[in-house]
């Protein structure tokens, strides 16, 4: 049995909208093994993104236990969570969320500003990450000068550069054409298979889910099943 990297037990998450208490996740249990590529699917409002935020340490549960990479996230303060995120997790967003005034290499270097690496080491590591995702030749280009697929590769390089063990991706292909989407998904698959990265993606795209090793379906704050896909 593989080592579990993500473990959720009886996780409840409620949001407050004005005076209303809105339940999003209701006593959810989940285990993700190290090296898995999990696709989270489900209709809008089913709680996928909330679950992803909890796994990524961006949000805290109302109750329940969340253990990721051996640490209890539900017990951490926001400062501790920030430090934990810097060490353990990389994020990829639908709209890339790159800094528009920085070139690709500087964008990728951002997480390394939180380390003690020298400027030259940061630059070298950023370039290595860009090389890994196949976009080193666009290192000096700003996001506005990149196509959607290229920008998403830069975002993936940024997620990888600090050597995160876990990548959480929120609809990483939602803003891309089919060809670019397939290229990005193929890249994620390589990172999973050849570099051992654990990946959790939220997607509406069944084709995207096919690239994963397991797909999870959510509805109304609960997991419906846990199908294992062919690796």
């Amino acid at each position: 049995m593989s080592e579990t990297i993500v473990s959720l037990r009886k996780v409840v998450k409620h949001y407050t909208r004005g005076k209303q208490d809105v339940p999003v996740l209701d006593g959810l249990d989940l285990d993700i093994a190290k090296g898995e590529f999990v696709a989270l699917m489900g209709p809008s409002g089913s709680g996928k993104t909330t679950l992803l935020n909890l796994i990524g340490g961006l949000d805290s549960p109302t109750s329940g236990e969340i253990t990721v990479a051996g640490e209890r996230l539900d017990r951490m303060s926001s400062g501790q969570l920030a430090r934990w995120r810097a060490r353990n997790v990389g994020f990829v967003f639908q709209f890339y969320n790159l800094m528009p005034m920085l070139n690709a290499q500087r964008n990728v270097e951002l997480p390394l500003l939180l380390t003690h690496l020298s400027a030259s080491q940061r630059a070298a590591n950023a370039l290595a990450a860009l090389t890994l995702v196949g976009i080193a030749d666009r290192a000096k280009h700003k996001p506005s000068e990149l196509s959607g697929g290229q920008a998403q590769r830069v975002a993936i390089a940024r997620a990888l550069v600090a050597d995160a063990t876990l990548l959480v991706c929120d609809e990483p292909t939602g803003d891309l054409d089919r060809k670019s989407a397939d290229e990005v998904l193929h890249l994620l698959q390589i990172l999973n298979r050849e570099h051992g990265k654990t990946i959790v993606i939220v997607t509406h795209d069944p084709k995207a889910a096919e690239f994963g090793s397991r797909s999870l379906h959510m509805d109304k704050g609960a997991l419906l099943d846990a199908g294992i896909l062919a690796a």
Binding site: L58, D59, G79, W84, A86, F91, F93, N97, M101, L102
Partner: protein, 388 residues
């Protein structure tokens, strides 16, 4: 330092806005540098008597109070005083009150002895001046300004002195020559000067006879200036006309100061400038941070703590204000020699730079703190919602 490229890039995110904000802060610090220097000169006018070869003796209490002409004998008798001359404020304009003319009745022999080598006057024109009772020597810049020429009559209206003959305030002179000033730093101060004979003035005026505005002295040994000034003032201590002897360089500032509390006016202007700047720059910073809400959320997502995000926003504010302050203060340093041509005795305070930079830091903290706190309180999940 590793955050500098990020701060720099953020600063130039909206180039036009940053340039206009920078310019407004630069102008504010240029004003600060210039006005603070002038204010300092007024508050601490004593540039030092030591080494000064020219002194000016005025009434201790006000420049507008006259001194007895008879004092000149006692001042001249003070050991170390080489020459004494006397002058009175004539308060004149040409045709309209906006055409101010710095007309001075002078005792010709002592005045040009005291100021020897300072004026350029041709021998012929100097001779004509000495020989013409109603003659005037006019600064060549003033001649050019009003299109006057040698040989013409010059009517001047005094705001103070009525004539004994008819009670009129209008005096008529003959332009017999022009003069130029050798020292370019004096050129501005002397640009409106007209010199005429004290005898004509004293005999023609209807009141104030035997009284003068102030005395000017040149000392033999500049290293003795302090003692000589003290001796002159001691001569008239406890008399009805006590005196104040100061370096000639400080006289222009004393003259301006009699019109009001210059320091208060300067500080009020600076206060208004910085108060306005506070809102202008503060609003720019607030707007800039509001626009970058999703980007700040991404930084937090990547692991930047609340403190680091606060530091980045404050750092950007510091970069903006310090950059502008350095440029503005440098420009004010360049401006000070120009001011010195009008107000002698102005020196650049060694405290100007540290005070200016301190003010820039204070300004940066004041304008940077509200947006920094906003960035700190930013909820990552909510902020990312718009961009996902």
């Amino acid at each position: 330092m590793k955050y500098l490229p990020l701060l720099w890039a953020n600063l130039w995110r909206k180039k036009t806005r940053t340039i206009f904000t920078l310019l407004s802060v630069v102008v504010a610090f240029l004003l600060y540098g210039a006005l603070a220097t002038i204010d300092d000169a007024f508050e601490n006018p004593q540039t030092g008597l030591t080494g000064v070869d020219k002194l000016i003796t005025t009434n201790k209490f006000s420049l507008t109070l006259l001194l007895p002409f008879s004092d000149v004998q006692q001042i001249a008798a003070v050991p170390g005083v080489a020459v004494v001359t006397w002058i009175t404020w004539f308060g004149a304009y040409y045709q309209e009150s906006k055409n101010f003319v710095f007309a001075l009745p002078i005792d010709t022999p002592t005045y040009f002895d005291l100021h020897k080598d300072e004026f350029v006057v041709s021998d012929a024109e100097m001779a004509a001046f000495r020989n013409t009772r109603s003659g005037v020597l006019v600064n060549s810049a003033l001649m050019k300004k009003f299109g006057w020429h040698v040989g013409q009559k010059l009517p001047l209206h005094s705001t103070i002195w009525t004539q004994k003959a008819d009670g009129s305030l209008d005096w008529t002179f003959d332009i017999v020559g022009t003069f130029a000033v050798k020292d370019p730093t004096q050129a501005g101060q002397q640009a409106s000067t007209v010199l005429f004979h004290y005898e004509l003035f004293d005999e023609g005026r209807s009141f104030g006879k035997g009284q003068v505005g102030w005395f000017e002295e040149r000392v033999v040994d500049p290293s003795q200036s302090v003692q000589i000034a003290q001796k002159i003032d001691a001569l008239f201590a406890n008399s009805p006309n006590e005196t104040k002897t100061q370096p000639a360089k400080d006289f222009a500032m004393s003259f301006v100061k009699q019109f009001g509390d210059v320091g208060f006016v300067l500080r009020a202007i600076l206060g208004a400038v910085f108060f306005t700047l506070l809102f202008l720059t503060g609003n720019t910073m607030m707007q800039s941070v509001r626009e970058r809400t999703p980007e700040l959320a991404v930084l937090k997502t990547l692991g930047f703590s609340d403190a680091k995000v606060v530091g980045l926003v404050i750092g950007e504010s510091l970069l903006l204000c310090l950059l502008a302050a350095v440029v503005g203060l440098a420009a004010s340093y360049a401006l000070i020699p120009v001011i010195r041509t009008v107000l002698q005795g102005i020196v650049t305070s060694p405290w100007l730079l540290p005070h200016g930079l301190g003010l820039a830091v204070l300004l940066a903290l004041l304008v940077g703190t509200p947006p920094a706190l906003r960035a700190m309180r930013l909820n990552v999940v909510d902020a990312l919602m718009d961009k996902r």
